[in-house]
Amino acid sequence: MNLSLMLLLLFLMTALIIVLAVKIMISKKDFRKLESRGEIKNLKLKEQQNKINELEADIKSKLKKARNIHRRMLPDKLAEPDDYFISDYYQPAEYIGGDYYNFFKIDHGALDSFFDQYLLYFFDVSGHGIDSTLLSIFVNDSIENYFKLRHSPGEKISTSKLMNYIDQRYQNEGFPDDYLVCLFIAVLDTKKSTLNYSSGGFQYPIYKLDQEDRIEEINIGGLPISAALGALKDSRREQTVNFEKNNTLILSTDGLLEQSNGDQQYFQQLQGLLKKYKFLPAPFLKDLIRSDFYKFTNDNPGKDDLTFLLMERPAGEIINCILDQENINLEAAEIKEFLNQNLWSDHLHFQTLKEIITNLLENSELELKIKALNNQQLLMFSLEHLNDKNGWDSILNSYPDLISIAEKDLNRSQNGEAEILFNDQEIYFSHTASNSRMYLMLVKEET
């Protein structure tokens, strides 16, 4: 090979190396460019993700606040007429509550002694997010306004008119078309033993257990309150239910009854439970429904609020005593006499129950409302603090053997029915959500 050819080859190789080196340098530059572009994109993605997380946290925090507002709006304690037991259960959905209920004595002013009437209402609003809490506030405010502005003491209360008033106000507020209010309003007149009611929107009935041991389904449907429908003046007529002794009403929004376990909805199971345990007083029946429901759903409360109320006018002897500084001795004597009637003296745990009540009566600082029910199957005491917000934990601490149905794990029969045997070996207790009222119960033999 001659020199000139070698030089040419060397030149070409050098040129090739230079070209390759330049190419590599350009590629590296491009790669760096791409790399930095990718980094920027990643950064932007991270920023956007952070913003989404912040927004999500903000929405959750606002919904939590709305839920707390909603919870605070619910009554701490429901009124309870002398011959009745009223029990309630409320479990809000994860973030927002659309259910509300109340039961209070209607004020007839100077004419109060002629009346003993109570307003019962519950509603379920369907809206999105915080709006449903605002809608609840609106309905409550409308009811309050009606009694302030439209109702005079001594005047008959028409639930139909009250419904129309709320509907009319609702139409004026410009709520979105897809929101609706399912509402049940009733007036319990204890002197007439009637419950007059109007309702709209509910898909499921309420149930009445009567003295003949029947379960009656009472339809509380009808058109809901909705801006899409406009004001419906004559569509929600007033109906009447007689409320005799040994009657119980079970009232619920849809959340409880429509909940499914995959095979069936809870309303299909509830009737069997009511038939089997109708002898239970309202506070204990409430606990049993609660336990049965969670067993049915495998501890899944569902996405909706759970609200149900029980209103019972029991059969049997009832005494009502309010023990305050003025009449503690007189009222305490009445309760002691009741306890000394020896009707239950053979019961295994009567002495323990007597001891609990007697100790309370001896604590002169407490102001108490005590209600006792005695019938063929059971003896129950309702204890309510009037001047103390500490609840009833002291009794539970002193008597750890007391049994709560709410905490019992229910067994099921082959038919799927709850199986719980009540017997004279136990003292059963229940209490309200705020723990201001406690109930103690003895049952006779095996029930």
Binding site: D177, D178, G200, G201, Q203, G221, L223, P224, D254
Partner: protein, 110 residues
Amino acid sequence: MLVENNKAVLKFEGEVIFDNSNQLKEEAKQMLSKNEKVNSLVIDLGSVPYLDSSGVGVILSLFKFMRNRNGALAVAEANEKIKRVFDVTKLREIIPVYAGVEEAMQEDQV
């Protein structure tokens, strides 16, 4: 949404509940807004196993939307559970419920 002359069929798929009701309502209204001549709407509920009160809210909202354009709304193919909701809440008195979409389309008021 299937449109034929001034009539339309809107098919809902799956449960209509709180979680999806708002989106469904907005999408339906958008489709109807693009088809201004539609004055009869049939909602086909054949593939809807269940609707809660938010679902009822969607139907009521579309009912008002159609009424505002002097139109009409009906539902068809609803299962027994949904028919029961329409009966108990008396919505049937306001919104006709038909067994099938064909039948609903043949009615004059829809």
